[in-house]
Symmetry: C3
Subunit: 469 residues, 3 copies
């Protein structure tokens, strides 16, 4: 896999540019790796549990061709039986490997096989057992334990994602081991979605937990805000430099304290309807922006996913198993209350993501190219792929430039795929920059500086991982 343009002039330039980025450390400011993995540093289980079971990119593709997630070992929440034999799961993957032709999952997986595990053989029904055995043998070796891989992967910093009511004990262990804490290798991210979304089952209970954890009176809206502020302090002390907000839409709202308090009371009283819940979520984004002005956390906004679209899948296997679907997302009117309030304040940093590519030239690049507070996050989820990354640069750069983008974010649960994902992004950026150079749109030396900025310096700076305030 080179991913470089096939055309010789650009290919040579891309190769040269890529050399400026290839060996730079990985900055992973947003992702969903379980921090316990690195805190406990135990060997990974079998290959199926590493590559198939937890990766919904993989299980959803197999499901789309009629292989139920239960046969792939995806844990059930309804008590129904699921496959537990790793080798059986692996064989299902192998004999359906053709389904992944042309997908990033295939690219990432083959890169991990080759570059992490030294397995160059192509996966197929015939090679399934042999590869399974080879991978299993490697996984048993100490060099394949998480911390060893972390070091070998040249990851400088990895952020995980926790709810404000997470006690951060796992991160405390990491800090105690010299792996966590401010400026550490593994840090947390403040993700308050399940405390601001009244429609999420169990909301009031989680708010109560927040009160217990902080000793604040969360029976009132000011107490709720104070409790969140208190947890942000704890997150900052654990190394967090950003918050993350995954809302159905990008809608923001700047309510008066009194109006916000009314919604909050309705929510606690079980009287909030969908409109109230939307308004509360929207308003809380502006509250979090205000908190960011105080504590410096970079705000990440991830709107536009219809969660649990596949209801049968959700009923059987729960959340985050491949049943979410993107939808059209409006930003220009939606963000206006937030931008009116704080969009011109350069102390604030908001990193915007989208699952709706149509917003890139029409809304997001013009917004990021106009407001000091805004940065564009890397293509995310369904768009985190060679074509998606290429289109991102092609549609964003002319209005926003490179320096209103925030660098690559792997956003993954799959620890072993992190270097592969960053490498794909670096190669695609090299190809894009090579085209600019070949067409006489950018001098080579500036392109070389740019690719290093995109790969390393820019995400480090935008996510405040360089120690700056």
């Amino acid at each position: 896999m080179t991913l470089f343009p096939a055309e010789a002039t650009q290919r040579e330039i891309a190769r040269e540019l890529y050399a400026h980025a290839r060996d730079l450390p990985l900055i992973s400011p947003h992702g969903h790796v379980d921090p316990a993995l690195l805190a406990n540093d135990e060997s990974f289980p079998d290959p199926a549990r590493l590559f198939v079971v937890p990766d919904h990119y993989v299980t959803r593709m197999l499901a789309s061709q009629g292989i139920p997630p239960a046969r792939l070992g995806v844990p059930s929440v309804d008590g129904s039986e699921v496959e537990t034999d790793g080798r059986a799961i692996w064989r299902l993957l192998a004999s359906n490997w053709h389904l992944f032709r042309g997908t990033p999952s295939r690219l990432w997986t083959e890169k991990v096989f080759a570059e992490v595990f030294g397995v160059e053989k192509r996966l197929s029904a015939e090679t399934a057992d042999e590869i399974y055995d080879e991978l299993s043998a490697r996984l048993a070796e100490p060099a394949y334990r998480p911390r060893a891989l972390f070091t070998r992967f040249n990851i400088e910093v990895l952020a995980t994602t926790e709810s404000p009511i997470d006690d951060l004990s796992v991160h405390a262990k990491l800090a105690a081991d010299g792996w966590g804490g401010p400026g550490g290798r593994v840090i947390t991210t403040f993700r308050p979605d399940n405390l601001v979304d009244m429609e999420w089952a169990g909301w009031a209970g989680r708010v109560a937990t927040l009160g217990e954890l902080t000793g604040r009176d969360v029976g009132t809206y000011p107490g709720f805000l104070a409790a969140l502020r208190a947890r942000r302090e704890v997150f900052v002390a654990a190394g967090a430099t950003s918050s993350d907000h995954g809302h159905p839409t990008a809608v923001t709202l700047n309510l008066s304290d009194a109006d916000a308090a009314v919604l909050y009371r309705k929510g606690l009283g079980g009287a909030a309807d969908a409109k109230d819940a939307e308004a509360f979520r929207a308003h809380m984004l502006v509250e979090f922006a205000r908190m960011s002005l105080d504590d410096g956390l970079v705000m990440q906004l991830h709107p536009g996913s219809v969660r649990n679209h596949n209801r049968a899948l959700h009923a059987r296997h729960g959340r985050d198993v491949g049943g979410d679907i993107p939808s059209a997302t409006e930003y220009v009117q939606a963000l206006r209350p937030l931008l009116d309030a704080h969009g011109d304040d350069p102390r604030l940093r908001i990193v915007l993501y989208t699952l709706d590519e149509t917003a890139f030239t029409r809304e997001l690049a013009p917004l990021a190219g106009g407001y000091p507070a805004l940065y564009l996050g890397a293509p995310w989820w369904f768009l985190d792929s060679p074509e998606g990354l290429r289109r991102f640069r092609e549609t964003v750069t002319e209005s926003a430039g490179f320096y209103n983008t925030a660098g690559f974010v792997d956003d993954t649960r799959a620890f072993c795929s992190i270097p592969a994902r960053h490498d794909v992004a670096r190669r695609v950026d090299a190809g894009f920059l090579a085209r600019l150079v070949a067409e006489g749109r950018l001098p080579l030396d500036e392109a070389a500086e740019t690719i290093a900025d995109l790969a390393y310096h820019l995400p480090k700076k935008v996510f405040r991982l360089d120690g700056s305030a």
Copy 2:
């Protein structure tokens, strides 16, 4: 015309891949050829009546530059006069041939001239008569009669499209001649739009005809469903393997029998409003899905066309003459009722089309890559072109792979253009796959297998033309 990438590496690979698809038989599971053409097997009329009059791609482009369809011989429905001299029509086309630069109509037409008729001369005001005469001479020969061309075109199966109240007598003649029936060369498709769209003038009358044809009491909703089921049986017996549904939107609705019956009665009583009509159409899609579970017909959904947008054109020349315009189409919420009910059932096959490309990465590829029942149909109508076909693969493959797509569908009224259209699709797919190979994203042998699947094996399988249930 090679349509292959100009760059030498990819061009060589594309050429090699194309060789794996070039001579495969044509599977044409969806189109609008008049079956009488093949049943009667008479010579085509003059070149204007073959290439201009019935092809609204051609007449609309000329109309857009001020040449009224009447001067192009398009039949009128208001009694106004239209040109009848084929040669005069032909000269108008020829002297405006520059309007078609860069359009697929030009590609297809020139391919047909060259490859079907052996005419290599470029069309222009100067060559108009000469080409007209050459084409006319060929059309008079027996080798240019429809069945001879069908065989020469290497079409394995061609599906036409009929309303449930069509008596299928033309298909019966084809069957009697050894050309039709289940597994035959020419089959029908069940297209019930004019029976489920209460807003389509004459609806109640067509429902009455349906009752007569089936002997069911269509005065009640259960009787209406029974009558449709009866016609599906007849269509299946005539070889149909799919149904087709061309709705204004993708909205589906899963009503109770009682609620559906209320809408049906309102419709028959002339009391249904636009909202009722939309609800009834939406609900009937779920009913048809249920029928498909029983009889195996593959469902095709073609939403998003605003029919008869050009009202003056519609008033003078009727339907299907180039006056329809696409519009934005939402799928994620719209399809939810249908997918909640049957989306995870691998026995069901729904082939989704769009005229709104923005849905490809945002909605359609994620949906097709997640639900067992869903397949993505080929780029359709305004998108059935080199650029449209290329963007389809670029935007769909990474989330849905190749095997959640349903293969190429020519969707044409223009019989002679069928091989040209399939050839364009095969060449564009070869170019796309060549890029994947050249960038190290897919091994050559898998790309070769894939192109044969896309061109032949996959449409045959997805549309159940391989005899499978």
Copy 3:
């Protein structure tokens, strides 16, 4: 900068095609150059006031990285102080020049430096003063005064944009000098937005001015229409061949005279709400179409910009300083009233622009490829860039061809950048056509004819600059 495809075959063809367009005169039928510039023909002020202060592409990018427009000399409307030292402003630009990597602003500026001023050095903090001094020296020379540059730029005709209540005295001076008037080098465009938008502060006052200027009774709706017609006559006499309409949406409405009069009265009485204002704007587009049938002015529609999105910026610096943001724009239903009334009339010419690229394949190309009155305007504003221009051809050509597009429109305030902008468009079109030639989709000789049409003959004809009616 070649902007041609890097691949050798296409590059050679592009170079050859470009040669057919390179030296053709510039047709600039739509833009925002201040006509006083050419009427007075005074030397340009310093480089900062030429390249930075008035160019909101430049100031917004710098603002997005925290450099307030006041530090860039952008005039304030609230009395706050702004930088006045040209050299200080210039140094800010120079030391942030990396922000413009990959943007069209950088391309245009470097082209102007090199081709207009002979400055080949790269801008940076180090070279800032030297380049400032060189540019300043050039600007003091007579050869760098506006009329001299106009001639050197080979501009055949430049249209500026004026409100109906502009007295056109500047254009009268141009005419007196042999530079303006019908068929002249500098002409005006009729832009009535501030007279049809009741929501624009001061509307009633401007309507009163219109009454005074024309001697019509603008207290009544018929009088208002008569006054507008009178001003159109004056504009036509000053050389105008087109009108321009920048509305928030593309919505049109064909009201009865009585209903329109009601809205008008409400507006004058201060009783119109947002819905009334929208309806009045929408209806006036149909009125202007009717006027165009009489006086031949080509109608330009520029919908889809949310004006003054950045409220803080607007409060401090006023309109047109980079605070506008595009938004999603619907055309198919919105234009229907206008198209129903006059869309099939080939005497009418409507040039449609968009800031929403998603409309190109889905709505705009099908509309322009079907209605005689419609032409597609060039990619505009945020899309007026190499990638935007390329995507325009890729998404529009297959349904609308080349001849339903209206040629390039530079739309600029930045006089010196006009040749650079046209040259970029010619190069990108050469590259697109070269691909068609290389892929066997268009013969070379027709591509050569096409590029000359796109660059020169087509805009001249569509905008009625060839003296035709």
